[in-house]
Symmetry: C2
Subunit: 208 residues, 2 copies
């Protein structure tokens, strides 16, 4: 015997979420069964409105409720710096530091040969167009320091540097290209830090 | 800066689920953003229909789409045996063995002094009424072998046994009360089994 159809149906939907198996989905559904109908209606509404109320910003490709997004249309932000991130979540993480006042560009992923994600699948041409058509002084590459992120950073650096830039019309010569610092994370323990992290922390050590 | 309102709203709803924190909820929502609107609509519908389409069986108190539930109304089932479980999920677990053909009674929890769940909060009186008004031969106590489950089993045993039964009209004298066997689970490793399990396995050893 199985669960009643309406319960099994919802379990199946929850099971599709990443890291959620049938047992976890069951737990979610039985938790929701104890909630009142009003709460479920609100949850259901939030779910159905998710796609309808959100859009992709035409400038930076962030998921947003307005187009252009709040950041692109904010007059107080520094329009000469673009921070390149893989997705909207990374943008939110950087925003939450409250230490960055420039614009963003969402690539929509990183180059990944195994998953067949090539530069053509990313918003790289759109980035080049933004750089061509605006007065950009600095590009910050804020991609994950893993294999795919580093590959993408290298690709973008070649594309945007003096040589690559000249191939694209010589317009990018004066743009500064930076990337996020590598080193020990806050609260780290030297004893447990991996060799790569420690090697980077040594290589990029700061003068006091 | 925070997420767009419609995204934050859905993150908050997912965060209410057991074991889901804000980071996991974010992950769910960004996964759902990649799905098409149709899928989201179906998910949303399943959620809103959950409460509307389900009810509690008046006999056994299982969550069901019909009243009485499929099991209570199934003529082929043995109506003289009642298996007492804590909730509907436990019933489904036992059903999935396909080795039980009797009825169920869902207590709606177990006695838990810390969480203030007393016998009055459980469907115990309803169980006594079912026993009084039907020709029941056996009650199987299928509660978790933990402190709360054992307490509840002991309470029910006292209530249903000859002595307690006589206090309730002497009608329960001939009812057999059983509980699920204790011992080693399939695939267990003696080396890693805890003392209680091993002690029970010894105590309830079977003749070959």
């Amino acid at each position: 015997m199985k669960y009643p159809l309406s319960i099994q149906n919802l379990i199946n939907h929850f099971s599709c979420l990443p890291t959620v198996g049938p047992k976890t989905a069951e737990r979610y559904v039985f938790y929701l069964l104890k909630k009142n109908s009003e709460d479920l209606k609100r949850f259901s509404l939030a779910l159905s409105e998710l796609k309808e109320k959100t859009t992709i910003c035409k400038n930076c490709f962030a998921i947003s409720e307005s187009n252009p997004c709040n950041i692109c249309s904010d007059e107080r932000r520094n329009k000469s710096v673009i921070c390149v991130v893989a997705d909207t979540r990374d943008m939110i993480s950087i925003e939450s530091t409250e230490k960055y006042n420039g614009l963003y560009h969402i690539l929509g992923g990183v180059i990944n040969v195994i998953n067949n994600i090539t530069p053509e699948n990313l918003n790289i041409n759109q980035l080049l167009n933004r750089i061509k058509n605006n007065n950009i002084e600095e590009i910050i590459l804020a991609l994950n320091p893993d294999l795919e992120g580093e590959t993408t950073s290298m690709y973008l650096t070649k594309l945007l540097s003096a040589q690559g830039g000249s191939a694209l019309g010589g317009k990018f010569k004066n743009i500064k290209i930076t990337r996020l610092a590598k080193g020990l994370p806050t609260g780290a323990n030297l004893e447990y830090a991996d060799e790569m992290t420690l090697a980077n922390a040594l290589k990029y050590r700061n003068e006091l």
